[in-house]
């Protein structure tokens, strides 16, 4: 069990990274026992495979011109699936924009995500996801929302945690600093997860910061922190579970650096060959989170890899049907532009909407 002692052994200031399995899925911490049942681990693997499949499909829908810009998750899924297992219904999920598997676990429907990236605000309603914020585009800004939510939960006496996500690039923004500091000073239950995928679009980590690692930034706020192998599902699960308990018990924030690699493009508009080498990509391919979890399962005889293909086929069907649902979504209406700006439509907006409607009536609809 990951505990305070383990935390102490993996001090960011010593540049330690917590890891459970190696690139071949072999457990490298002796005496380590997973805190999940075998079925749960198998399910995690399936979830990971599902996220990956959905992600691939999303990219291909985009390529087919059926969706706009999309940020792929490839390579970072262990973080998401572990998060999904740990985050409880009463917890808040405060996303950046690259945590697909975690969103799905929180109850977001895939068709909503597709709808969003097709360009409809209704895709952010997350009808079945409680305590889940929409995607946050302005980098790092969402971390402050998590801190405010943390304050509210504490104030209201709730026993729950806000999980807030940000990228390595996001740690450079002032809002990252202010969020960590406010969280520490206010003693609020927030787990900050930095997905360090080594790039902010084209900018490599070494041009983003000189710090030893990103977890060490917690020192500036006296926020306990640890660097974790983000491609290691078990390591992520251990630390996220520990962090959740810690935060609830201590009423203090916690910072996790999940070291990973964005195997795909930044978004579907990006071409990573412009700024990184094939060698680097190949090196990280060896650390792929899906393969590592699969190797573990195979070695424990929990998984037959020939199952994958069948599963993927099944998933694709499901994903396609979700996409169709998004495509069949009712057409965007003028109301959708105006009606959610305020609780009650102010007269000025009524006026603007009416004027436009009159124009539409005059010309016979939008061209």
């Amino acid at each position: 069990m990951f505990n305070l002692k383990t935390l102490d052994k993996f001090k960011p200031i010593d540049d330690k990274t917590y890891q459970v399995i190696d690139n071949d899925g072999k457990v490298i911490i002796k005496d380590w026992i997973p805190d999940l049942k075998d079925e749960e681990i198998v399910q995690a693997y399936k979830d990971l495979l599902f996220e990956r499949t959905a992600d691939f499909m999303a990219v291909s829908y985009q390529r087919q011109g059926r969706m706009f810009t999309y940020p792929p998750n490839l390579g970072q899924e262990a973080i998401h699936i572990a998060s999904g297992k740990v985050i409880q219904p009463e917890d808040w999920l405060v996303p950046a924009f690259r945590e697909l598997g975690a969103w799905l676990a929180k109850g977001v429907s895939l068709w909503e995500i597709f709808l969003y990236f097709k360009g409809h605000e209704d895709g952010s309603k997350f009808l079945n996801a409680k305590r889940m914020l929409p995607i946050s585009v302005p980098i790092a800004s969402q971390l402050l929302h998590a801190v405010g939510i943390g304050y509210a939960m504490k104030y209201q006496g709730e026993k729950a945690v806000a999980f807030a996500y940000v990228g390595d690039g996001g740690t450079s923004e002032g809002d990252f600093h202010e969020a960590l500091n406010f969280a520490a000073v206010w003693d609020v239950p927030v787990v900050f997860v930095v997905q360090n995928n080594r790039f902010a679009i084209s900018v490599p980590l070494k041009m983003q910061t000189r710090s030893l690692n990103l977890a060490v930034k917690g020192v500036a706020y006296d926020v306990k922190s640890i660097a974790v192998d983000g491609n290691d599902f078990f390591a992520m699960h251990d630390v996220l579970s520990f962090a959740r308990e810690f935060v609830l018990k201590e009423n203090k924030p916690f910072l996790i650096e999940a070291k990973t690699y964005r195997q795909g493009a930044h978004t579907t508009s990006d071409d990573p060959t412009r700024y990184r080498t094939k060698d680097e990509e190949d090196e990280w391919a060896l650390k792929d989170p899906l393969k590592r979890l699969q190797s573990y399962l195979i070695s424990k005889k929990l998984w037959d890899p020939s199952e994958d293909e069948k599963l993927i086929a099944q998933y694709k069907k499901k994903i396609d049907s979700e996409f169709e649902k998004a495509e069949a979504y009712p057409e965007y209406k003028l109301d959708d532009v105006f009606d959610y700006m305020y609780e009650n439509l102010p007269d000025e907006l009524k006026r603007q909407k009416n004027n436009y409607q009159n124009y539409l009536n005059h010309v016979g609809g939008v061209k």
Binding site: S141, Y151, E178
Partner: protein, 325 residues
């Protein structure tokens, strides 16, 4: 009824709402023990406890951003930006999130929060302590923007703002924080956001102002009266949404309009109000819609304010010119 200054009326509004609604919290730089640098939150921490009225670290983006987080999860925060010029570090949170969260989530998340900002010049302050940023906020869809000019309005508008389920920027004309005293009901009452008030009925010209400028216009009106010029004075009270009806009715009657604001001229608040006049009362106009505003300069340090700030004399000068047009 109790005689109150603007500051006292604002404190009173917060006190009443804090007593009434446990979800309200008040915070910002120095608002706790200190009671705010203008003493607007004085006594509130002592009375309501320091989990409800408290200091934050010195970071405006965080103050706004955490308030958004609180607001979407059940609290109703009232935050203070210490001065107008220090609201700028919070712009990204205000523009990108506070103003948009309801729309982004199709109403799933509401943002019932109030951002209080002492604003405006004429107080002999250091740089960045005398700004008039209302046009920035007025141009940002998703916000409501309110500016009271009297203690009575201050209390009623602030209570409305606190009870509103949308974010409200509440700009406080600090120059008249203690300059005006007025009888104010001790109990709770509201004044609707979005409705201007006609402070004086008149025939020859409509003057539109708000905040500290209202008092300067009133002084100018004494001079106007001496020359038998009858001024209709509209106190706008709400910067957005704008009360078109009151503006239309007045200008249709008077045929002349002057907008007086201390904010810089270009792309400033006066232009919008005058374009509304164009849209609503063009055919009634007997003189060009006119503005008297701050210069397109930084508001000068105290010794230069005498040039920048709009005086009753200057306002009267414009009124007279327009009436003679």
């Amino acid at each position: 009824m109790k005689v109150m200054t603007l500051v006292q009326a604002i404190t009173d509004a917060m006190d009443i709402k804090l007593s009434e609604d446990k979800n309200i919290v008040v915070y910002g730089e120095d608002v706790g023990v200190e009671g705010g640098v203008f003493r607007v939150t004085e006594g509130l921490q002592l009375k309501h406890g320091n989990s409800r009225v408290f200091d934050s670290p010195l970071a405006e983006s965080a103050i706004a951003g955490t308030a958004l987080g609180m607001a979407i999860s059940g609290l109703r925060p009232i935050i203070e930006m210490q001065f107008d010029g220090f609201s700028f570090p919070a712009f990204n949170q205000i523009i990108s999130h506070v103003a948009r969260f309801r729309n982004r989530t199709r109403g799933k998340f509401e943002v019932p929060m109030v951002i209080r900002i002492p604003y405006g010049g004429g107080i002999n302050a250091l740089e960045h302590h005398s700004e008039s940023p209302e046009a920035y906020f007025g141009h940002t869809p998703g916000l409501k923007v309110v500016i009271p000019s009297t203690p009575y309005d201050a209390k009623g508008l602030l209570i409305s703002a606190i009870e509103d389920n949308d974010p409200v920027i509440y700009l406080e004309p600090k120059r008249i924080y203690r300059a005006i005293k007025q009888e104010v009901p001790e109990e709770k009452y509201t004044i609707p956001i979005g409705k201007a008030s006609i402070l004086n009925k008149g025939e020859h010209i409509t003057v539109i102002a708000y905040g500290a400028m209202v008092r300067e216009v009133q002084k100018a009106m004494v001079m106007a009266k001496a020359k038998s010029i009858s001024v209709e004075l509209i106190d706008l009270r709400t910067i957005w949404p704008i009360d078109r009806d009151t503006i239309r009715q007045s200008v249709q009657k008077t045929g002349r309009v002057l907008v007086v604001t201390e904010a810089p001229q270009s792309y400033g608040p006066a232009a919008e109000l005058l374009q509304i006049v164009n849209e609503e009362a063009f055919l009634s106009l007997e003189a060009p819609p006119t503005r008297l505003t701050g210069f397109d300069t930084v508001i000068p340090l105290p010794l230069g304010e005498k040039f920048y700030m709009l005086t009753p004399e200057r306002i009267f000068y414009e009124i007279e010119k327009l009436v003679k047009y």
